[in-house]
Each structure stands twice: as structure tokens, then as C-alpha cells.
């Protein structure tokens, strides 16, 4: 196989679409979640994101990166900042296509729950809508939005305040068996994958 070493000069010459696909996929698989929000005026929003990452367990924090203002409408981000709450819902193979469809640019007063075929569910008193079809769901409280100066993206930091997980998926040591749950992983912007465990390795010591 031919290995090719590319440098910054090559990146600059890449066609925009090619570059976006390349860097979104090159360094590995990503989690994919449906983010549910509601605007201050009461409009629902549901959108797929692949930029979620774990930030800590005590408190339980997740980060999520949003594209620059102006490039795209950021309904999810404005809803999070207006209301302070959002939901994270896992994506299963049975509704991967519908989940991907939520990335379309719907108008702000259109609910992607309805437009893409998802059933909305409210849990306890939580102020944002969950996806009924998902089997792992978190209720998040917005803590902060950190501006990233290098490319005008915005990093949202949120704390888990609610977790809805079937107890069948929670192993004795706390690990959630997301493969058994059927959670998908994503590569690039549009490619979805199931997984096959190769093993767990013990806590490493020198």
C-alpha cells in the first residue's frame, strides 16, 4: 500500500468538501447522539451531533462542539442557552436514517421530532424533550459555553442531571454495555457502524 505524507500546503489545496470529509473521518470513530431541546417560545428541536465527548465523572460532564455562528443556524445552541437544558439520546440501527435526516436545515418553527418521525417523551419534570425510541438517555444542564478563538466554534459544557438506562445494560462495575444496547458509532459526517467487542483489558500497571 502506498503511504502518502501530506503537509499543510496539501490541505490548503484540497477541495472544500474533500477536506471536510477527510478531517472529519481520518482520526477515528465518534459517538453520535440526538440532542433534544425546546426554545423559550416552546418550539422543539432535535438534531444529530457527533462532537460529544466525556469530560468528567464527578461532576458528570460532557462537552459538545458547535460550528461557527453564521456558517449554519444554531437552533440547538440557542435553545440550550435560552432554557439551560437539553437531552442526549442514543442512536440505534432501526432509526439511523431518521436520525441522520435531523441534520437537514429545517426552519426554527419546524419540529424535527415530527418531520423525521420521532416520538417525543418527557421524563419527570425535565424541561427538554427526550426521544422515545432511544434506550439510553441523559438529561443535561447547561453550565457554560466556551468560545474557541481559532475557528469561532463554541464548546458547550453540560452536567448530567438525569440518566435513563435500562438496568439490563449496566454491568456490575458500572460500565454500560452500549454494544448490547445497540448504540451506533459514526465516522465522518454520514457513515454509521455497529460494533463487535474484541475485549476488555485489565487496569494497566507498569
Amino acid at each position: 500500500m502506498t503511504s502518502q505524507v501530506l503537509h499543510s500546503d496539501h490541505f490548503a489545496q484540497m477541495d472544500t468538501r474533500f477536506r471536510v470529509n477527510f478531517f472529519n473521518s481520518v482520526m477515528g470513530f465518534k459517538g453520535a447522539v440526538l440532542v433534544g431541546t425546546q426554545s423559550a417560545k416552546g418550539f422543539d428541536n432535535l438534531s444529530v451531533f457527533s462532537s460529544l465527548f466525556h469530560m468528567g465523572s464527578k461532576p458528570a460532564l460532557f462537552g459538545m462542539l458547535f460550528r461557527p455562528a453564521g456558517e449554519v443556524p444554531r437552533h440547538t445552541l440557542s435553545n440550550i442557552e435560552e432554557t439551560g437544558f437539553y437531552t442526549l439520546n442514543n442512536i440505534l440501527a432501526t432509526f439511523a436514517r431518521e436520525a441522520h435526516q435531523t441534520s437537514a436545515k429545517y426552519a426554527k418553527d419546524v419540529s424535527e421530532f415530527e418531520a423525521c418521525g420521532f416520538e417525543k417523551e418527557y421524563l419527570a419534570d425535565f424541561q427538554a424533550p427526550f426521544v422515545k425510541q432511544s434506550n439510553i438517555r441523559l438529561g443535561m444542564k447547561w453550565l457554560e459555553t466556551i468560545p474557541i478563538k481559532h475557528n469561532n466554534t463554541a464548546l458547550v459544557v453540560g452536567e448530567v442531571v438525569l440518566a435513563d438506562v435500562c438496568s439490563d445494560f449496566v454491568l456490575e462495575d458500572g460500565m454500560v454495555d452500549i454494544e448490547k444496547a445497540g448504540t451506533l458509532t459514526v465516522s465522518g459526517l454520514d457513515r454509521y457502524h455497529t460494533t463487535q467487542e474484541i475485549g476488555r483489558f485489565p487496569y494497566a500497571r507498569p
Copy 2:
């Protein structure tokens, strides 16, 4: 299946190990990479990370989160800040166990390349060591470390300045076929998985 809704009070009562496993795995799969660095004094370091995330394509940026100072030695972070450069190397099933072993707390003057059985490689004039066994590798330039006040973690923002990818893995539209390359994904702290594509979906329109 019994679904259980847990709240912040439940999280506080979880045993530490249980909570760490739970929140590291609950919301989805993560990318896993081996990060290669060199200290100012010339000591090599290689360590597995699952906190890498894509931040943008022009410039090509990746973020990586580091645990709080004091909790663990942060050789990788101090090397990045000392020299300004680091490498990202994908993880294949053939060396997943060795990759996981790099998470052990080796002393700063021990090279995990040698201790865990990896061959070191230098590409062009790049000032940090690559993993020879990996088939997708990026050379990164450190831009900034952003402190996260909520839990004292540190977010490193870096720019891709070099990419070494077999051309066989690069599809016509720029997407890198990381499944064909054999890149693994990880869940929680210690569980590695291969993937099986279910499909690519077209750019979504309302």
C-alpha cells in the same frame, strides 16, 4: 426491560469506580489514539487517549482533554507544552493490548515505546515520534491549552500539520475508510471494538 431514571442524588451515592465506568461509557463510542511526544530533555512518551475530538477542518483542528493536574502525572501534556508538537496514531486489533498497556503509570524517563513493544518512527523533520505499526497518523502542532474550571481538566487544541495515510484508505470524496484501515473504537475505559458499516446516508435536506 426495566428502565431506571437516575438523578444527581443517585450519582453522588455511586461508588467511585462504578461512577467512573458508568459515565465514561454511557453516552457512546469514542475514538482511541496513541499520542506520541518527546520531552525537552529527549525522553519519549506514548500514551493511549480516548478524549480526542474533531474541532474543524480549515484549519484542521483536534481537541483532546487531559485529567486534572495532581490526579495523575501528565507527561503527555507537559511534553506537548514543552516542545509544541505531538503525534496521533490509530489503534489496530493486532496491538490493542499493547496500546492499552501504555495507560500504566510509567516513570517519566521510561519510554512506553520500548516498555510496551512499539517501534518508533520519525517522519520528515517532525519533532515527535510516530508509531510504526499504525497505518493512519497525524503530526500535530500545539495551539493552546484551555483550562476547564468546572473540574480542572485541560483542553489541548492542536492543528494538523502532517498526515500520513495509505492512499488505499482515502475515498474519492475525501472520506477516510477507517473501518477498512482497521481502526478500533473504544467504550468506557478499557473495552475495544471493531466496526461493521451499516451505511452512508446522503446529505440531508428538509
